[in-house]
Symmetry: C2
Subunit: 289 residues, 2 copies
Amino acid sequence: MVHNGIEYGDMQLIAEAYDLMRHGVGLSTREIREIFEEWNQGELRSFLVEVTARVVDFPDDQEGGDGPLIDKILDRAGQKGTGRWTSAAALDLGVPVPTITAAVDARLLSSMTEQRQRASGLYRPPVIGFAADRRETVHRVRAALYAAKICSYSQGFSLLAAASQARGYEVELAELARIWKAGCIIRAAFLDEIRAAFGRDATLESLLLDASVRDAVASRVATWRSVLSLGVELGRPLPALSASLAYFDSFRSARLPANLIQAQRDYFGAHTYERTDREGTFHTDWSAE
Amino acid sequence: MVHNGIEYGDMQLIAEAYDLMRHGVGLSTREIREIFEEWNQGELRSFLVEVTARVVDFPDDQEGGDGPLIDKILDRAGQKGTGRWTSAAALDLGVPVPTITAAVDARLLSSMTEQRQRASGLYRPPVIGFAADRRETVHRVRAALYAAKICSYSQGFSLLAAASQARGYEVELAELARIWKAGCIIRAAFLDEIRAAFGRDATLESLLLDASVRDAVASRVATWRSVLSLGVELGRPLPALSASLAYFDSFRSARLPANLIQAQRDYFGAHTYERTDREGTFHTDWSAE
């Protein structure tokens, strides 16, 4: 089932890349089709990128219809519940999968059609228009998509490892990557990278800790940041792309502001905290100063 | 229990604001204490902002300790499970609460201490330093925190409304806001705004659709975007602040890229889709072009 959670993440990330290029950069569906065709020749090669190229510029097939079919399709994404199941299982196991959950939430939000219509009348989009170089921006979106995808898969495989351990499944993750490559919806070139990573270290706790994956992400992070900033400024909703970056920035931070949360919890609930410089559990008399 | 989910969101948003001011802008704990004291006199007035002012610059209380205690507290946030419960209940009811879930995930990530230490050695933070006006940035962080908080409460109250309806509780949301104001951890000036909003319309589907709440958010959105961009460029992890903005941008969008997701689903699974221009359920023969 985790497969389907990862699939949700992939589809949402691709949808955000499409949205940014279409409504942020202002490209046509024809141009976007060519871009996805090109992407499908490289590191992003995957069934879902191929499908995107096939559907994004497909002509309206209704009698009297014209223009791309995609513009006539209602933006209300269905779900059969497998994505939600993955998010719920992750919560249960205590494994963060923010990109997958963002993708589930994005589908739920897409279904709130009537509320969104009303809200769109109340809130205007930013007045700032796209002013950067189109070609360069497309190049950047490609890098952002790949880095965000890696972080999403990293979450999914950490969940698989935790579930396997908790339930005694003894899943071989390298083998799983091989099987998925053979014919499922998320089949992709990137699964070879995953297989290689778990082949190098079967007990790898996170894909992001593999040296080769690390290079793939590290070389794209600055670009990824610029893409997210662009989307934020233009008002394009990028829930999965931003959840992936927040996951990455949290994961690579030796220190997080959770120390403040621990202080707050000790203040109002005497929940105690640990210290960085000595063993033990501590409680402070916060009224003592 | 939704109360605790909202509390998680509040605490995480405050922690992100603290982190950005401390490690992004480079302010001292003394300065940040004064900022939270000032914020506690205005629209952000709340028990948790007051607590933050009290703990953030509290001196180390251990024998021989010096400097602020906060710097010695281990950044591993505990949780008793009520936040997770809120996220799980929301998934179950199909209500998106991305800010609350981001706060739960942030605590989970904070507990991955050993992996984070290793990752921090593999990935360098951005080399860009803070170069904007400090005073102006603090002002902006205040606006971002308030807008993000409103979006988080909007999610929480939408969840309450859905739960109340699904389970026949008939919760009066205006009354609930009054009760929460009286003495719980999330007691805050903002609950008066919520009470007023549900007083004006007891069936309000989303706080973001209330005219007064709308003005409070709309007047801060541009600033909020700039704060998030700053954090993204500086590499500060802002999971809740960015989840709130993505929620807002999705919610206020009359059209989302879920049409692409529907096209993909119809392509590989014949899941069918709806159209914007005519009634019914449609399936396309994607091989026909």
